[in-house]
Amino acid sequence: MSAAPLPYASPPSVDTLYAEHHSWLRTWLQRRLGNAADAADMAHEAFLRLIMKPAPRGFHSPLEARAYLRSMAQGMCINLWRRREIEQAWLDTLSAQPQDVAPSAERQAIVLEALHEIATLLQGLSAKAAQAFLMSTICGMTASEVGSELGVSSRMVRKYVAQAMLRCMQAHAAQTTAELRTSRAA
């Protein structure tokens, strides 16, 4: 593989990109993920994404292509880690409970789905806003209780909760609209 840092004469095809960067990407992912199978899956998925949604301005050089692939793969790793950590968080919570209070398998699936969803929805929120939202909603604490934990006013807590709720609502609205469009197109 000779990835010489020469500019591309014309926009490279996906085939070219694959030939030049796939094995580099897989090696890079394996170092980060510490697992060959995960790395192979993810490298494959990265190229699938590149086909579905090409880089907006194309690539002018192999270096640019690698930088793009690397940041895309980095984002995918973060998502994967998040999903695994969420699953682990749920398992840890369960294992802290006596056996007889363990929820049913269906219930667990619902909880896990909700956990993945909330973790995705919280993305981009500040740590305090996310914390205020979790404490207010999941733990059912009042705004003044949350405020004294976080060292902010209860007014600020309400602002955080509203901010996080709005984000969740918008995500839900976008999802509903997309589903409606799909069902109408079908």
Binding site: R82, A96, A114, T137, I138, E145, E149, L166
Partner: protein, 351 residues
């Protein structure tokens, strides 16, 4: 989208669905939600929210998203064995993800900084409603629990309530953390029987009584024997006799009034309404229902008479619909909407 005055215009499959509510309506809905769950909303706020909801279809549409998020994402997480632990773990995941993304964005973030506040939370003694999750006894939404205490006393925990019980050599003490408890003390035990709330302590004098935590005060109704109230801030004591009820704050005890015997009917799973407003009945039923019950303000003040099963909210609402000539609809599985059956209610059923 025209503003309409009836709850009936909420249709999840309305043709406006694709447009979605305006950003403004979504923002307002999010702010209402934040206020309503803050523990700081009073009756006026809730009435204003109802007015906002009734004002136009965009508002109600925006609110359906609040409902959707609460029911699909938040409710399953609340209803877990240890929501506090789960929430703290979700926050850990969020914090780690944030620092990873910050590194990704090349901002050179100091990883772990965001953890400080959280550690503070997990180590601080639990407070308020949070304590309910670790209480000795607690009951979920729509769940009335009868408990026999070690001394032979019997207590009934109303829906959504929690308490700690501490039986020591010289004292029997219950601490009501949330909701309402009906106590029937055992006879022949010399140890004092105390129920504590943030507003004060109640000492049972051989008795059967109800204690309920309200936002800023404690409600007490005595059915048998008597109960002595000692308020938290002023140390004032007052004995409330059987057949009386009162409310007290840390420094003041209201004048006692006649106790409503129907108030303890919940311990048998009944809601006895004797000339109650529909709004009050719905508020009570809401304690037993995990979803949202929307009541058209036009019918909120109708008077209701009857006994309704608390363990079967759908059944109770069907009975209500029957006796009060109401239309009960479920636009969404978690949303019950109650409005007038006809545009002009007959005089016999409204006042």
């Amino acid at each position: 989208m025209p503003a309409t005055s009836s709850i009936d215009s909420v249709q999840p499959d309305s043709r406006h669905e694709e447009d979605g509510p305006s950003h403004e309506a979504m923002e307002q809905a999010a702010h209402w939600y934040a206020l309503l769950i803050s523990g700081e909303a009073d009756a006026t706020d809730r009435a204003r929210w109802q007015t906002w909801l009734a004002a136009n279809a965009q508002h109600r549409h925006a609110w359906t998203y609040v409902e959707a998020v609460s029911q699909r994402v938040l409710a399953p997480l609340q209803d877990t064995p240890d929501p506090t632990l789960l929430a703290s773990k979700v926050h850990d995941v969020h914090t780690r993800e944030r620092s990873r993304r910050r590194v990704l964005a090349g901002l050179g973030a100091v990883a772990g900084l965001g953890l400080i506040g959280w550690t503070g939370w997990t180590r601080t003694p639990i407070v308020g409603v949070l304590a309910a999750w670790t209480a000795d006894y607690r009951s979920g939404i729509g769940d009335i629990r009868e408990i026999k205490l070690a001394d032979g006393s019997r207590i009934w925990l109303n829906a959504g309530s929690a308490l700690n019980a501490d039986m020591s050599a010289n004292l029997r003490k219950l601490t009501l953390i949330a909701g309402e408890v009906l106590v029937s003390t055992a006879h022949g035990d010399a140890r004092p029987f105390i129920v504590g709330t943030p507003q004060g302590q109640l000492r049972a004098l051989g008795t059967r009584f109800t204690v309920r935590r309200e936002p800023e005060q404690t409600f007490l109704a005595v059915y048998e024997g008597a109960v002595e109230i000692r308020t938290a801030a002023s140390d004032t004591t007052t004995v409330i006799a059987a057949g009386k009820q009162t409310r007290f704050s840390p420094d003041r005890i209201a004048d006692a009034t006649e106790a409503d015997p129907a108030r303890e009917a919940w311990s048998r799973g009944d809601l006895v309404a004797w000339d109650l407003s529909l709004a009050a009945v719905v508020q009570e039923l809401n304690r037993y229902y995990t979803g949202h019950i929307a009541l058209d303000p036009a019918v909120a003040q109708r008077r209701v008479f009857g006994t309704f099963p608390l363990r079967d909210v759908d059944g109770a609402l069907a009975m209500l619909a029957d006796v009060a000539s109401l239309q009960v609809r479920k636009p969404l599985p978690w949303w019950i909407s109650i409005s007038s059956r006809d545009a002009t209610p007959s005089p016999a059923q409204s006042r």
